[in-house]
Amino acid sequence: AQTVTQSQPEMSVQEAETVTLSCTYDTSESDYYLFWYKQPPSRQMILVIRQEAYKQQNATENRFSVNFQKAAKSFSLKISDSQLGDAAMYFCAYRRKETSGSRLTFGEGTQLTVNP
C-alpha cells in the first residue's frame, strides 16, 4: 500500500520569506500523481500544485514550486515571498495513475504559520 509521510507537524515563516514543506512517499508504481493541498481555517481543500511522476520538470504555480526527487520518493513544497494568506494546513497527497478512479492517499499535514 502507498503511504505518504509529512515529518513536520508545524512550521513557521516570516512574511516575505521562503519556507519549504517536506513530504516523502512510498510506492512501487512508476507513474502517479503527487499533489499539495491547502486547507485554510475555512476548512476548504484547495489544490495548490500538481506533479506527474513521468515529468522530470518540477511544477511551478506562481509563488509555489516543488522539488520532486523520484528516486528518493521526495516531494517538497517551496513557498516564496510568504504572505499572511498562506497560513494554513498543507497536505501532501499521492494518487495512482493507472486507475482513473483511484483514491488519494494523504500525509498527516503540516500546519504553516506566517508571522507578520
Partner: protein, 114 residues
C-alpha cells in the same frame, strides 16, 4: 468551483443514534469519495464509489456504510454512532476522463458524537 454540496454542515448527536451525511454533486462525475479528517492523521478514505450502486471500502470503513442510487448523490451512514466517529467528514469527486488527476472536495461536515 466544483459543484459539491454536503449536508448537514454541522451535527451533534448522541452515541447509538443513526446518522446520515449527504453529498450532492452537479458535475456528473463518475467517482465519489468519503474521507474523514482527524488531527495527526490527515484525511483517510472511508468508502468510495465508481458508479451508481458500485461502491467499495477504504482504509477506515468499519462502522460506516454508503449508498449511491443516483450519479449525483452519495450517502454516508453511521448505523450506530460512537464517540470515535467524531470527526470532520469530506466528500470528494473526480472525473476519470480528466487527465489532471485531482479530486475536488466539498466543504466538510463536522460531526460530534456525545
Amino acid at each position: 468551483d466544483a459543484g459539491i454540496t454536503q449536508s448537514p454542515r454541522h451535527k451533534v448527536t448522541e452515541t447509538g443514534t443513526p446518522v446520515t451525511l449527504r453529498c450532492h454533486q452537479t458535475e456528473n462525475h463518475r467517482y465519489m469519495y468519503w474521507y474523514r479528517q482527524d488531527p495527526g492523521h490527515g484525511l483517510r478514505l472511508i468508502h468510495y464509489s465508481y458508479g451508481v450502486k458500485d461502491t467499495d471500502k477504504g482504509e477506515v470503513s468499519d462502522g460506516y456504510s454508503v449508498s449511491r442510487s443516483k450519479t449525483e448523490d452519495f450517502l454516508l451512514t453511521l448505523e450506530s454512532a460512537t464517540s470515535s466517529q467524531t470527526s470532520v467528514y469530506f466528500c470528494a469527486i473526480s472525473d476519470g476522463a480528466r487527465p489532471t488527476g485531482e479530486l475536488f472536495f466539498g466543504e466538510g461536515s463536522r460531526l460530534t458524537v456525545l
